[in-house]
Symmetry: C2
Subunit: 337 residues, 2 copies
């Protein structure tokens, strides 16, 4: 098993990425870790952080894809970038999974262009875990602005398999995000998708209203990438808003500061609850090879967890399961897909 | 000035509605309050609550529109309902504004069919205040599943005027909810609407990502009714989730319970912060007459505030301002509208 890590992309690159890579190499001794980046920069960073670069394989890259680069064009323009080189290695079988904290759009189009989609899967989708009362897997959380009913069903299936095999949820419940619970609610593609989702062999619980999402209405929440992206970013914003309100609450006066001291541990517990780094990264589902998008602001811990996730993604052969479904040979082929 | 209140609709009807109507009559002595409902039920409820029905005018109605009734057909089918009778009075000038806590869809189609839209306004929209770091007016929060660029610009204009004249925000900032900040982000109707919004004379701050919404990125957040409804309901859900997390935090052990006691007042402050009843109800903007949709679970206080809001809506002649804009005679007519 070999995991490829793009250590040049992300807000905290290369330090946090390299740190995470080295920690992962120590945590998973049976797994080879290859880091793609500028060797000189990597060695200098390793020295500064007192890390032993010997525990990872260094793959030389020249340029770096930035957050502002055009996702589609940059893949061809920056063929010597850490992201493209890593994806090419993955496509050529020189690794089992790829982790990057870089430009999501570029990773998505690069993954599609270089590793290709699973045959029969119309669109790759991003699945992100929302840290709510219980974890909710949101798919698509931003890959596709528009979605057809068939694509939505494929997203739901891929999400259900990911929840089952990588999140360890037995018979995960799948809900469609909608503005009402009746089957006739929502936009045309949702009304068309509803009976198709009902025909699937996973546990479809129907339409789910946003107000029920925080309280475990479903394990997998399927939606188009536009709405999913709004929900994902609002979850992030509301989480920050909640913690900020909580902090303000305890800073009001001496009494509140005293009670903050009395319950320090519990406050940390709440903070950890909304710590997305626990979940590693967001898998790009539908690509022929496992690709994990780590959060742009990932620290070493998040990268270490993203590597753990990448290992389990490859070990579970999730793509094999999705491929059998997509090729229609799977018993659980949903109607219309 | 006369305000018409549908006291038969809503989760807490008729008690909370009647209570709120009577409180409003006392709070606004210069305003006549007419309550529409079954007179016998109203008089019995008044007795039970020890209220003096003499301070309000009672308009007899027979049926009630339920939450599950089909919004479009029920308006014709239940012409003797409290909602339809109230709307007819409003249309005929037998009142200056109408308040109902009933079926939103029915109120919307009823308002459109009976009071009609302002000439030139293509669609009525629901504007709702989100209780975040500072109040954010969300428009459209659920009236229209799909939206054209022209309609979105009209929503933005109506929202800006409401924020200025009824929320007292000098030169309110208007943002378009989107999945990125660049003008090219989002769906086709958003890309097309962007330059039109820029050409408007209100303070357009561009696209706003959902993660910035809680932190005062704009005073008015314009979006299509589908996305708006998701955001509105998720705000409600996340608010409840936050208060629940807070409660759980303070119930953990003796120490946390002690600190809860130490800061009881401050905890109530947080709870009040998310109390939507403070804001009264959601105005239906674009109708020829002021219609306020009170929350289905409104208590007497919420109804009292909705009446205050209805009075100010009528006094400010907001519809006159919107009508001048829509007819194109207004100086601040936006490009393309």
């Amino acid at each position: 098993m070999k995991i490829i890590i793009d250590v040049m992309s992300g807000d905290n690159a290369p330090a946090a990425l390299l740190q995470g890579a080295v920690e992962a190499a120590a945590a998973y001794p049976d797994t080879d870790i290859a880091v793609v980046g500028n060797e000189e920069v990597i060695r200098r960073t390793a020295d500064e952080l007192h890390l032993d670069p010997a525990c990872v394989e260094i793959i030389q890259s020249v340029s770096v894809i930035g957050m502002e680069d055009n996702p589609v064009s940059v893949i061809r323009e920056k063929s010597d970038s850490s992201m493209v080189i890593g994806l090419r290695m993955l496509a050529q079988g020189e690794g089992d999974a790829f982790v990057s904290a870089g430009n999501t759009g570029a990773l998505l189009s690069g993954g599609t262009l270089i590793t290709h989609r699973i045959r029969g899967i119309q669109r790759a989708a991003i699945a992100t875990v929302l840290p709510l009362q219980k974890p909710v897997l949101l798919i698509d959380s931003g890959a596709n602005l528009q979605t057809t009913p068939e694509q939505l069903v494929q997203f739901a299936y891929m999400g259900a398999q990911y929840a089952k095999y990588l999140m360890g949820i037995e018979n995960p419940s799948v809900g469609m995000l909608n503005n009402g619970t009746e089957p006739t609610k929502g936009q045309e593609f949702q009304v068309a998708a509803y009976p198709m989702l009902e025909a699937c062999d996973f546990h479809f619980v129907g339409n789910v209203e946003a107000k029920e999402v925080p309280f475990g209405a479903c394990d997998v929440l399927v939606t188009d990438g536009y709405t999913g992206n709004i929900l994902l970013k609002y979850t992030e914003g509301m989480g920050r808003f909640m913690l900020g309100t909580l902090k303000g609450l305890f800073r009001r006066n001496l009494l509140t500061k005293l009670s903050a001291m009395l319950m320090r541990k519990n406050l940390y517990a709440v903070k950890d609850r909304f710590d997305v780094s626990e979940y590693g990264g967001a898998p790009l589902l539908g690509l022929s090879k496992p690709v994990i998008k780590a959060h742009g602001s990932s620290d070493a811990k998040a990268i270490r967890n993203a590597v753990r996730q990448a290992i389990r993604f490859a070990e579970a052969d999730l793509n094999g399961i999705i491929a059998r479904f997509a090729s229609g040979t799977a018993a659980d082929k949903p109607a219309g897909a």
